[in-house]
Symmetry: C2
Subunit: 207 residues, 2 copies
Amino acid sequence: MAAVHPGQHKSFSLPPARERIDRAAYELFSRHGVRAVGVDAVVARAGVAKKTLYLYYPSKEKLALAFLQRREALWTQAWLQEGVNRRARRPADRLVAVFDLFDSWFHRSDYEACAFIRVLFEHDDPAHPIRKSTEDHIRTIRDFVRQLAEEARVRDPDGFARQWQIVMMGSIIAAYAGDRDAARRAKKLGVLLLADAGIRSRSRARI
Amino acid sequence: MAAVHPGQHKSFSLPPARERIDRAAYELFSRHGVRAVGVDAVVARAGVAKKTLYLYYPSKEKLALAFLQRREALWTQAWLQEGVNRRARRPADRLVAVFDLFDSWFHRSDYEACAFIRVLFEHDDPAHPIRKSTEDHIRTIRDFVRQLAEEARVRDPDGFARQWQIVMMGSIIAAYAGDRDAARRAKKLGVLLLADAGIRSRSRARI
DNA sequence: CTTCTGGTAGACTGATCGGTCTACCGGGCA
DNA sequence: TGCCCGGTAGACCGATCAGTCTACCAGAAG
């Protein structure tokens, strides 16, 4: 028994098998949802034996929860949060930059919409762990928006963040239903909201 | 062979069996979506033989399309459109009344969110007939909003309607994710939009 | 009376689901 | 050399899926 953690490879990285499973689950669940994708499809895409998947995850549900975690790491944090922080400095401009990011997202040919909303709709039982997890991840996004709102000295940061997120989610649906310019329309709404909150955003003139 | 239309009962009404099927499908598909509900569940709830369902509908897909039609009749027309027309007279006030209706909807204990959005997310293939149908029904709702926007003499009725629908759909998701006051927040957004379009709504003072 | 019709009850098919299990394999290490 | 271990390939299980089929039944019509 060597002094390595269980599940840890000798090269001090995750076993390639597990990483391939996580990646395959991410690609399939992001695009098609959890219900529509069977474990056989995940296993086939990962190029892995079924038993290997069940070595790392005791059930499909746990795999789905891990997928939602990964979605938060890759989408919410690495893409959305780092994206807006890179695009602007002032908090109000960072808020508006959300919709600039959305605009490029909506125009991707493989636009897959929001996995959290998609999986949220797959479970109508409010007590189901997967549903509660999606609500947590949606709340995390709102917390990020509220943080920016506080930095921008908005009057009611919580109410502002909830309104902002309504516009975010609504534009995601609109884009998925065919309106690829939904981000541009959402941006106008955002600028209106900021103006109403007494904040002047630099991006206003650019519309 | 009597002179009655095929499929028509002697009492000049739809056969009770078919009506029970449609009602059962409506209740189940509205709440849980199409994918999550099996035909056996529909049949059981309707108290009908499986063969009877397949007498009226050649496949589950056709049943789902009929359900979406019924949803438009009951939700879009009878509930939403007639509701706002009853609540207000001036077009701008009717627009705002959408969110008053939403508020009572969101606070129902059996709030089921929007079936069109739910079913839209169930099908990622843009060419799938069910997905195209949901997009049609979403467009129908937007047409209704645009009609009101035109009557309210809004500058860009199409753009306005698309923004209005972004707020509508976003609030539906927010409410489903736990924020039961989403309609109140959406109403504020709507009033902002109307004010920006140069329209003064009567409901502004009431917020 | 018989016959036709619209319906019921439910067995059945083949596919697919999540999940388990056996048998095997190859590289590193003692 | 031989063993352990992470992994593969894939058969298998019971449940459920959409959809079909047989057998039966009640009421109205001729």
